[in-house]
């Protein structure tokens, strides 16, 4: 997902006997559906895993602006440009909501930024794919935001209060993102044969990377079991992927486009589609930094950070000068 393969910190799931009294009380609060707030006692593993997960999610929102930002100046109409600009601005907002949720756990914004910039922290694999045509703006909104929503909706119920509240805000804004993407796809799919071909090509390129967003199967992962017990992960990766496919295939049919999967068939028995797994080797390569755009993305973030340094410093110096002047006058 936006946070893929987040490793939990700790020894894996403990039984009630193995837990300390504090841990038992903590788990009981979570089981009772209570929210954990920043100043409450929490196991170190819970805190560290959440910083990793929320940080990764925040970084994904921020880096995720790049593939779409790529098309703002070339949007086909002024209206499309305004819409895309608003969407990308929302993603910046999502990043900020999430960074402040992570900061309540005792990590600073600068630390998180530095960990992104030097590669210690990850962002979603999906943003390492290029956006080659305008139809990709449709595919990204429809599929990428669609997959993100699938993950974010259940996270509104996550146990950590600030994360849950950030997710509620994000989800409120997210549905316009998917709709504007689908709207672009509809226009293209109902357009000239060339436009329809562009839409199909975008679907072909984004289908499997979108499926990868949920991460590899984690039904046997100890990290996932711990995260699910803590309610910082609400569903297995496979559950969410299945839900995404079941929701998306009829939408592709509506568009008159073909999902690039020969094995896609409706399975009456399970009440869902059977479908091909994405190429997990490709996924691990992208995660390692060898995707088509990893270098560009990190370079762009580093450049923004470095080029902005004088602004950050200058504004701070100005604020301090103003404060000193005000103090002197009082």
């Amino acid at each position: 997902m936006y946070a893929q393969m987040v490793k939990s910190t700790g020894t894996g799931l403990k039984s009630a006997d193995e837990m300390s009294a504090e841990e038992r009380a903590f788990q009981a609060r979570i089981d009772a559906g209570e929210k954990i707030e920043p100043k409450d006692w929490m196991p170190e593993g819970y805190r560290k895993t959440l910083i990793r997960q929320i940080g990764q999610h925040a970084h994904s929102e921020i880096v995720g602006q790049l593939p779409e930002g790529n098309w703002i100046t070339r949007a086909p109409t002024l209206e499309r440009k305004a819409i895309l600009l608003a969407k990308v601005q929302d993603e910046a907002g999502h990043g900020l909501y999430l960074y402040c949720a992570a900061e309540t756990l005792g990590v600073s914004r600068d630390e998180m930024t530095e960990m992104l910039l030097d590669g210690r922290m990850k962002y979603s694999s999906i943003f390492n794919y290029p956006t080659l045509t305008w139809a990709d703006m449709g595919a990204v909104g429809w599929l990428v935001d669609g997959a993100a929503i699938m993950n974010q909706v259940p996270l509104q119920r996550t146990s950590f209060g600030p994360y849950s509240r950030a997710m509620i805000r994000v989800c409120k804004e997210e549905s316009f993102h998917q709709r504007q993407g689908f709207d672009i796809m509809m226009k293209m799919a109902q357009g000239t044969p060339q436009q329809k071909a562009m839409a199909q090509d975008a679907l072909n390129r984004f289908w499997y990377p979108a499926l990868m967003m949920f991460g590899p199967s984690d039904k046997d992962s100890v990290h996932s079991a711990q995260s699910m017990a803590w309610k910082i992960k609400m569903n297995t990766n496979d559950e969410l992927r299945q839900k995404f496919v079941d929701q998306t295939v009829p939408q592709a049919e509506y568009l008159g486009l073909t999902v690039p999967d020969e094995n896609l068939t409706w399975n009456e028995e399970k009440g869902g589609y059977d479908f091909s797994e994405p190429d997990w080797e490709e996924f691990f390569e992208v995660i390692k930094g060898n995707g088509p755009c990893n270098t560009d993305r990190l370079a762009a973030r580093n450049k923004a950070w470095d080029d902005g340094a004088w602004v950050r410093e200058g504004m701070m110096a100005h604020a301090e000068k103003k404060r000193a002047r005000k103090m002197a006058a009082e």
Binding site: E37, A86, Q89, L96, Y97, R109
Partner: protein, 94 residues
């Protein structure tokens, strides 16, 4: 030079004559910029008509471990609620 802008807590009054409500936080060099940033981050969809910003460092919070001693005294005072009193139906609305 390494200077992280201070953290500000943001409170917004919604449209309907409500109190300001905490919506989140953000970094800004000073109060004026905090308000400008809060406008962009927290009111992109008309969520508010008024913004308060407070430097996070200036907030004093009750500690969660005080929960018992702080709030228990009010638990036993059921007579502070109208439902404590039995008023006969004949009296009418009260």
């Amino acid at each position: 030079m390494k200077t992280e802008w201070p953290l500000w807590e943001i409170f917004i009054r919604g449209q309907h004559g409500l109190s300001h409500r905490h919506v989140g936080s953000l970094h800004a060099p000073d109060a004026e910029m905090a308000i400008k940033n809060a406008r962009d981050v927290y009111t992109r969809r008309n969520e508010g008509v008024s913004i308060w910003v407070v430097e996070a460092a200036a907030i004093t919070a009750s500690s969660p471990s005080d929960k018992g001693p702080m709030y228990e005294p009010s638990e036993s005072k059921v007579y502070r609620h109208p439902s404590f009193y039995d008023i006969p139906d004949d009296v009418g609305a009260m």
